[in-house]
Symmetry: C2
Subunit: 163 residues, 2 copies
Amino acid sequence: MSDETAAFCCPDHSGAAPAEAILAAAEDKARARGLRLTPVRRRTLEILLQAHGALGAYDVLERLAAEGFGTQPPVAYRALNFLVENGLAHRIRRLNAFTACTHPGHDHRAAFLICETCERVTEAAAPDLSKALGAAAAQAGFTVERVTVEAVGRCRACTQARA
Amino acid sequence: MSDETAAFCCPDHSGAAPAEAILAAAEDKARARGLRLTPVRRRTLEILLQAHGALGAYDVLERLAAEGFGTQPPVAYRALNFLVENGLAHRIRRLNAFTACTHPGHDHRAAFLICETCERVTEAAAPDLSKALGAAAAQAGFTVERVTVEAVGRCRACTQARA
DNA sequence: GCCTTGACTGTTATTATATAACATATCATA
DNA sequence: TATGATATGTTATATAATAACAGTCAAGGC
Ligand SMILES: [Zn+2]
Ligand SMILES: [Zn+2]
Ligand SMILES: [Zn+2]
Ligand SMILES: [Zn+2]
């Protein structure tokens, strides 16, 4: 799926990664909610954070296996699903991949911006979006529970690089 | 591009889909744009329309094969991709499935409402959504090209049934 | 202490989804 | 009718995800 890790993790790929801060926040959250952020799970989150982009389950698995964790798909899928269910990571369906949540401190409805040039994923807060969708859904008598928003386009860095 | 559509094929799953009308519209569109709506492609669209919901590629394939078309995955994937690329169908990523476009007459940004009880999919026109997303994306310097919006929740029929 | 219980981790095996590569057939049109 | 482009079909393979089950381990009741 994707290649190597960079030490940055930020909305527009322009600044230093608050990876440590995010990890710390995840630990706080886990403590507060009684979640068990076990070694595989924690390491999986770290792997996602270091990747600076979305990673496929098998990419994650490869790294976990290399570090002495289990070598079979369920190991990665279980850790990833745990993170997703607890708001510490997100699943990017268009890419069949996962990415660390960049602001795990609170529940949110996020939109994902997928650059088709560099393949990196940015998580954007988009509160208005829920509203707009809620209205459209209400018209149809539909009650919305969860929403996935994934946009494909071009990130700032790639736009500038091409200009 | 529009907002005036009767956005819902069958909001509460209570009426028959206007399949013939949609199919006719698809043929008009194909003629107008010089698309080749060949037998497999046309039949694939019909299959989607008759399904009243999203179908997986292998489900479509099964039906096609039973009718004398090819029996191998690429047959279904090619027809489905053709339909998607030309706005006659949509891919529902959350379900790994495809659904006929219920208003193929014009380009649109649609949102999909997926009922987690009956698993049926409704296509809702949601023009405001693009705006809201565009704003959020602009903040990050991101240029949006295509957007996927998929909501999971409960449709009117299922809500009423449970009440 | 020790036993039960439930959550977690790991395994093997299988299922599900999607594409690559290539041969044949059909269509457009010159 | 020849010719190049498009479409259809095949075999084979790649990629993604889950099922089912066994061993581990720590917490809480006795
Ligand atoms: Zn997030
Ligand atoms: Zn980019
Ligand atoms: Zn549509
Ligand atoms: Zn329903």
